[in-house]
């Protein structure tokens, strides 16, 4: 593996990690609302949150492209007010990865919250804790395994993302080139040896990420679970 290939691996890893961190607060909020609250139209929210998981990634990528391009409703704001471009930059990669892995995070976090006995939260309230304190001192610590498992799964999904990324960020060498985009290009160029090397790294990373998330998600530690 040469320096350029390591750069691609490094870029893919850090932008996937960053995207997971960026979606974390939103994912936890969505998961908590879905686990603990009921409201009219809740099933609509559930559906929308899950959609990037089942839609063709290029379709999701197209929607993002239209939203975030310089002429799109969101992209226009960034371009004109902040002089920032999103499409065809690493920021576009970040957003594509985040959107595509969001449903996995919400799914796992919601299951984790569902498994926390609400009785603990209720007693914490009688002891004087406000909702924020209840969440950070009771709910979150009791759900951390499932949440971490969800984060790892989201990270793994981000590592392998292709369809939305190529729509929103293209495959610009040194700027937006991820592992999967590079593998695709090497195959197109008939450079099988390079493709296989990057494929090996991909498989190793994905295996590690999923294995860790399995360990976290399948082991239940606290008694008093429902």
């Amino acid at each position: 593996m040469n320096a350029e290939e390591w750069q691609i691996v490094w870029f893919t890893a850090w932008v996937s990690a960053l995207s997971t961190l960026v979606i974390l607060p939103f994912g936890l909020a969505a998961a908590w609302l879905l686990a603990r609250r009921d409201w009219p139209g809740k099933s609509l929210v559930e559906t929308v949150v899950t959609m990037p998981l089942v839609m063709p990634p290029v379709a999701t990528g197209l929607i993002l492209l239209k939203l975030l391009g310089r002429r799109g409703p969101l992209g226009r704001f960034f371009h004109e007010t902040l002089n920032l471009d999103i499409v065809f930059t690493w920021r576009g990669v970040l957003i594509a990865l985040g959107v595509m892995s969001f449903p996995l995070l919400v799914l796992c976090a919601r299951i984790a919250f569902d498994q926390v006995n609400p009785r603990f939260e209720q007693i914490a309230r009688t002891l004087g804790a406000g909702e924020g304190r209840v969440f950070f001192t009771i709910t979150l610590p009791l759900a951390w395994r499932g949440i971490l498992g969800g984060m790892t799964l989201a990270f793994a999904r981000a590592l392998g993302e292709f369809g939305a990324t190529i729509m929103v960020a293209g495959n610009i060498p040194g700027q937006t080139s991820t592992l999967s985009l590079s593998i695709f290009q090497h195959v197109q160029l008939g450079q099988d040896a390079q493709a296989y090397r990057l494929l090996g790294v991909s498989v190793a990373l994905a295996f590690l990420a999923v294995w860790i998330s399995e360990c976290l998600l399948l082991r239940s530690k606290w008694p008093g679970r429902k």
Partner: protein, 249 residues
Amino acid sequence: MNGFLQSILAAGLVLGGAAARAGSIVVFAAASLTDGLQEIAQTYSRQTGEKVALNFGSSSSLARQILEGAPADIFFSADEAKMDSIQGLIAPQTRTNRLSNSLVIVVAGDSKLVMGSAKDLTQAAVKRIALADPKTVPAGIYARQYLEKLGLWPALESKVVPTDNVRAALAAVESGNVEAGMVYQTDTAISKSVKVAFAVPPDEGPAIVYPMAMLKDAKDPAAARRFLAYLGSAEAERVFEKFGFILIK
């Protein structure tokens, strides 16, 4: 292979072949030929009753597909290199060069940028330039050759947004997400929302050649030859000229 597997394979080929054989001549053609070829194929079908199936894409991915066994009868490439790469699969003496093209620099229809030459691409206002992938796609390779000849490539390389084919580069300029792009003269004819900022004079630009050939494994060689001949006819040449292609005499 044992007898059972052979029968399955044969059945598959027959079914697959039957689908393609629904009388169609299958043409793999460079993306830049889209509009011209569509019109020509329509006219041909009306006149002769033969069906023509057109598959457009970057010449590089089409050549790869042909190498992997895709069922093309005719390959119409945007550069010689891609045709060379499938040399072994071409039916002898069917390769001809009839068409050429020229390069232009395009900007969005409402862009304020003004360019007197390719050097103006280096100005700070041009942050990103869309090119068909300069590593693989003919349009991008031609553009890179031209910019290298002018000594501008090192300065511009980091601004390049590589796209899958030349029409995708055009779309990127239309969408406003890049400031400029380099495409073929013929591509601008079909787009309403870009304008030409600078046209590369054909004698200054790289030598662009569109070879076409019939493949050895063509399903119906006679029909394929007939269409190939039609592509070189005066009627077809008029259509190509209408769309802006340059004829090689």
